[in-house]
Amino acid sequence: MKGQAAMMEKVIVMFFVVIIIVALIIFLSGWFMLNIRTEGQRTTNERALFIMKNVATNPLFVKDDSMFDDTKLTAASDMPCEAFEKLYGENWYIEVENKFDGTEWKICSQNRRNTSYIIPVNIFEKHTGLVYVGNLKVGVFI
């Protein structure tokens, strides 16, 4: 009986040691998955911010940093999305809105889940020379 009890004790201790090891492995794996998810989100956020800063300083769209030219926006939004994707990659969109009259310009916009950022910008109206305030929204589809 005493021998059997000692044997059971050893089996039970071994069982708990295995549980601890499995728990450690699950914890490490879970922590690693958390890291990957965070890293993935960070990459998406960085891409959205990069596209935002690139668009806001690109002479193809702006007159000055963060001051869009309405004629350039109109010309650019007339281009097919595929033309933008070829140069700047896929799964992103931009929208510019003039707060004064509600005019909107959209490039590669779709109704899909996305991570997006909005910043205030200016819109230069070429015809009148006036400068309005608006919003630039850049999103990366998830």
Binding site: E39, L60, T74, K86
Partner: protein
């Protein structure tokens, strides 16, 4: 004498210990592989992030994210996608024009072609290197080619890793301090000053036969380059062709040379010469970006017409600019596009001068 119980305990303990240790070692091995791949992935993502920052700001930056990681990646370019390909960490798409030569530590800098109405920018990422020039054909025009190449290379006076320049004549490399910089090796600025002040058409140089290290990159300017010229990069100053690794390339602008110089003779896992890969890649990117920009500008000009009466100076200039834009969109040859872009730059200046558009 051991009892049966004790024997059982020993055997059971041994079996349990072996099972647990085997399981742990196997998991540790997998975990180490996963962590190794994760480190490489992080390093490559950080490199691309740094390249994006340099693309936006134009500020040169040192990147040393590969100090503790194997350099098993290469630039894989093609019409469908341009990626950094790592054998153990996957593919990473590259969106900003990038000319890259892998290294444990790299200097990243931006190069711009500014046309006024549009700008083409690319990022160059270089490891430590020493570019050695041999001026077998020594004339003012060929020295201008050297000056143009240097203007596209980063100044590493205050940055690491050093990108240095030197001269070779026959079997001798001129010493590091020949350009008058004291203890400092020949950084770009000192080399340019030395060349402008000390070399003229009367100096002669023979083909370089000096022993070169792995960090050296020999650039020969000669009237006699051919596909059989095996020492580094050879620029034929008569035919305007360039030779690298037995391959022949057209020389239309400095970026052609830059791509070959940065990619160099290194081969990837598929035996592609990286110099050729970068040359084809950057020319494709340049044409794509130029045609895209021209198409947008052409559409914009259609909108600008309404602001000016017909006939008027602005209308005429806008019409001429639109013709240039439409020609660029339909062109197939880089040489032709370069010429049209030069025309567009002066036309844009005229538009600004006449108050038809802004700078």
């Amino acid at each position: 004498m051991l009892s049966v119980m004790q024997v059982f305990q020993i055997i059971f303990s041994l079996i349990a210990a072996v099972l647990i240790i085997t399981f742990l070692i196997s998991y540790a091995g997998d975990y180490q592989n996963i962590q190794g791949s994760a480190s490489k992935a992080r390093a490559i993502n950080d490199l691309l992030s740094t390249a994006n920052d340099v693309y936006l700001t134009g500020n040169p930056t040192t990147f040393d994210g590969f100090q503790k990681v194997d350099l098993d990646y290469y630039f894989d370019t093609g019409p469908d996608q341009d990626v950094i390909n790592s054998l153990s960490a996957g593919n990473y798409p590259v969106y900003t024009p990038l000319l890259m030569s892998p290294g444990k530590q790299m200097i990243l800098d931006r190069v711009d072609y500014d046309y006024g109405w549009w700008r083409f920018s690319l990022v160059e990422a270089l490891p430590e290197m020493k570019v050695i020039f041999t001026l077998e054909d020594n004339r003012h025009e060929t020295r201008q080619i050297v000056t143009d190449i240097l203007s596209f290379m980063p100044s590493t006076l205050y940055h690491d890793p050093p990108v240095l320049f030197g001269l070779c004549d026959d079997n001798a490399l001129l010493n590091g301090d020949f350009c008058g910089s004291g203890d400092t090796d020949c950084h770009r600025t000192y080399f340019l000053t030395y060349m402008n002040n000390n070399i003229d058409d009367t100096d002669t140089f023979s083909r370089c036969t000096a022993a070169l290290g792995s960090k050296h990159r020999l650039v020969t300017l000669s009237g006699y380059c051919s596909p059989n010229y095996v020492d580094g990069l050879c620029i034929n100053t008569n035919s305007k062709n360039v030779y690298l690794s037995g391959l022949e390339f057209e020389y239309r602008d400095t970026v052609d040379i830059l791509a070959l110089l940065i990619g160099w003779e290194n081969t990837d896992i598929l035996d592609h010469v990286q110099g050729k890969m970068l040359y084809d890649y950057i020319n494709r990117k340049f044409i794509e970006h130029a045609q895209f920009a021209s198409e947008i500008q052409s559409k914009r000009i259609d909108l600008l017409y309404a602001d000016f009466p017909s006939p008027s100076t602005c209308r005429t200039l806008l019409s001429e600019m639109k013709n240039i834009m439409d020609s660029i969109t339909s062109a197939t040859d880089k040489q032709e596009i370069i010429k049209l872009l030069a025309d567009s730059k002066s036309k844009h200046k005229s538009l600004v001068t006449n108050g038809c558009d802004y700078l």
